[in-house]
């Protein structure tokens, strides 16, 4: 187990990258604590798999270093880094039994057979696959196969980190939930650093203590699920996390205050100085239908069961609000109020307001 440090890491798939656009992974400095559960969240093509492969050693970064507990492992091949990886599609050695599959990484490292047996039995118990140990792995269902590939990582007690590359992609929806909670439980039991790559916010937020949100090869925010939801550092995070995502409204800044369609909007705190494209961000959860506020026309109302999502047009801008009570009819004019402490200004995508007690 180890603390993982990414030091000035950059990667490009091109031989001679020129601009920042040529980098699949832009410069990255990151510390991952020993025993943490991390998620790498972002849309397809944002560089999260590239980052994962760099950590596992399947890919050599163009620049920068990876350190495990302060030791530079950048040049080491995967098998010398003591890592484990679970892939999108379950990787199973078809001709072996479940037992032999789980024992494979240990036997390759010359562990004696008594110890192999003890470890495999222990891990099989944890994964609840003990009764399958004697069967051929080829005949298992996809979720059990994925459990076995996880088991091959867990069985080694010297692993520095276990990485999951969208491991639930091929699992049936009703089993996804089960496997996800199993994973969470395993993390709490074995306390190995785990990095979970996904584009599914639910998977990331339920699994991880810390979520790293990525976009276009860049880390846009690192935080707990609550941080990401409460105070997105970038409009992308606000939009990507949450259902529906954060409202992002074009804004004007005049004399230290923000205006939307000419209406002054109260923000969480003072605006930092600077110039750029300004936007106001507020989550639908903090937009209420009020007597006074920004006038808007209701376009549609979606019944989400627990609440309604009201979509309204203020000028040319679409704003979503979550309403608990009886929703308005489409076509009606309503007034929208934003909760000031949850309303922020973003400049060129990045947060530009400060709040008491935060930086």
């Amino acid at each position: 187990m180890a603390k993982i440090t990414l030091d000035h890491l950059r990667h490009s798939y091109m031989a001679a990258p020129k601009g920042p656009a040529d980098y699949a992974l832009k410069e990255l400095n990151l510390d991952w604590q020993d025993g943490g559960a991390y998620a790498l969240l972002g849309p397809s093509g944002c560089g999260k798999s590239t980052l994962l492969n760099i950590i596992s050693g399947l890919l050599q970064p163009s620049e920068g270093h990876i350190l495990f507990d302060g030791k530079d492992v950048t040049a080491l091949p995967p098998d010398q880094r003591n890592i484990a990886q679970v892939f999108q599609f379950p990787v199973i050695y078809d001709t072996m039994t479940v037992f032999d599959n789980l024992a494979f990484p240990l036997r390759n490292r010359g562990v004696d057979e008594a110890r192999v047996k003890a470890r495999v039995d222990e891990i099989a118990g944890m994964l609840e696959v003990t009764e399958m140990l004697g069967t051929r792995a080829a005949n298992l269902s996809p979720d059990n196969k994925q459990k076995i590939s996880m088991g091959r990582g867990l069985v080694r007690d010297d692993v520095n980190v276990i990485m999951f590359d969208e491991p639930l992609t091929v699992i049936d929806p009703h089993l996804k939930w089960k496997l996800r909670s199993k994973l969470k439980e395993l993390h709490q039991r074995v306390k190995v650093t785990m990095i979970y790559v996904t584009h599914d916010q639910t998977e990331a937020l339920t699994f991880a203590d810390q979520v790293v949100v990525m976009q276009d090869g860049e880390v846009v925010q690192i935080g707990t699920p609550v941080d990401l939801f409460d105070r997105p550092a970038h409009t992308f995070v606000g939009h990507f996390i949450g259902s529906p995502g954060m409202n992002v409204l074009p804004a004007e800044v005049r004399e230290g205050g923000a205006l939307f369609n000419g209406n002054p909007i109260a923000l969480e705190g003072p605006i930092s100085s600077g110039n750029g494209r300004h936007e106001i961000g507020v989550r639908p959860e903090f937009v209420t239908l009020a007597d006074a506020g920004i006038p808007a026309t209701v376009r549609k109302v979606m019944d989400m069961g627990r609440h309604f999502v009201v979509e309204a047009l203020a000028g040319a801008t679409r704003i979503s609000a979550i309403a608990e009570g009886a929703p308005p009819e489409p076509g009606v004019t309503v007034h929208l109020a934003f909760r000031p402490d949850q309303t922020r200004l973003y400049r060129d995508g990045w947060i530009a307001t400060t709040r008491e007690g935060t930086v």
């Binding site: 995967p78 098998d79 484990a84 999108q88 990787v91 050695y93 078809d94 001709t95 072996m96 051929r136």
Partner: protein, 287 residues
């Protein structure tokens, strides 16, 4: 009881007619010949299983069958591992892939009798490229019309040259279908190259390899054109394989009865061994 729609049979009828005319009818003709004796004039006399007994007891048949079995054995033992090795060492992506594939496919595109003729000229002791090289540069006395060993070496080399590509292409197809994740996982699990071959590549190639072995068995066991054009069965009878012997009996001596009985025995052996191979190679697939 559930009523079955019997009209479905009409759809099978055309196939049945086709198969009847191209397989069943000719084969029944052979069965018919195999149990009768004729002295020409289209007059036939019942001979029972006499021809079968004669063939099975004939030393000539035993010798031809032995040569045939040896030929097929050598072909499989050389071509299958060689094909796997070549497939493993071929590039998986990039510019050289099409180059390798086309080069590999070339020998298979050449008609069989042309292959025989090519090798015939190629191995001529005084003017053939290989023949001249072996005799006058290396200094080996190589003449396949005189030495049975040289004749055998040449027909084996020719078949390896002609058909190893089939094994290569089938195995290659199996290899490229293995997702990268398998190799990555094996790397992470610390597997050796041998383990990667044994537990990932070989199992994934198994199905195509089964087909490759079956095809190579059937084709080499029934081979006729190439060795016939190359050696004509000689020197002496040293390369007279079953099919060559069969044609000699049927068309050379015009012994329809023995030839028919021999064809059926030949066919039964091919069928049985193919079945055996297939059963042995797929027996583990469903437990």
């Amino acid at each position: 009881m559930r009523k079955v729609n019997q009209r479905g049979w009409f759809f099978v009828l055309p196939v049945l007619v086709l198969v009847a005319f191209n397989a069943l009818v000719p084969m029944m003709t052979v069965v018919n010949y195999s149990v009768q004796e004729t002295f020409g004039n289209n007059q036939f006399f019942w001979h029972g299983l006499g021809w079968f007994q004669d063939i099975l007891r004939s030393e000539r048949f035993h010798a031809a069958l032995g040569r045939q079995a040896l030929f097929t054995f050598l072909i499989l033992v050389i071509e299958v591992p060689l094909g796997v090795i070549i497939a493993l060492s071929m590039p998986r992506k990039g510019f050289w892939v099409p180059v390798c594939l086309v080069t590999m496919a070339l020998p298979m595109l050449i008609p069989w009798n042309v292959v025989g003729a090519m090798w015939n000229i190629f191995t001529l002791p005084d003017i053939g490229l290989l023949g001249y090289f072996l005799n006058h540069v290396v200094g080996i006395d190589y003449n396949m019309t005189r030495s049975p060993f040289a004749a055998w070496a040449t027909i084996i080399a020719m078949d390896v040259w002609h058909w190893t590509s089939l094994v290569v292409l089938l195995c290659y197809a199996g290899l490229v279908s293995i997702p990268d994740a398998y190799y990555q996982a094996a790397k992470i699990d610390g597997a050796s190259n041998w383990s990667v071959f044994r537990y990932i590549q070989l199992p994934k190639m198994k199905q195509v390899l089964t087909i490759a072995v079956l095809l190579r068995f059937m084709d080499s066991f029934n081979v006729y054109t190439e060795p016939f054009v190359l050696t004509g069965g000689g020197p002496g009878n040293s390369t007279t394989l079953l099919s060559i012997d069969l044609v000699k009996i049927a068309l050379g001596q015009f012994d329809l009865g023995p030839a028919a009985a021999m064809s059926l025995i030949y066919f039964a052996i091919t069928l049985f061994v193919s079945w055996l191979f297939y059963t042995l190679m797929t027996r583990n697939d469903t437990d």
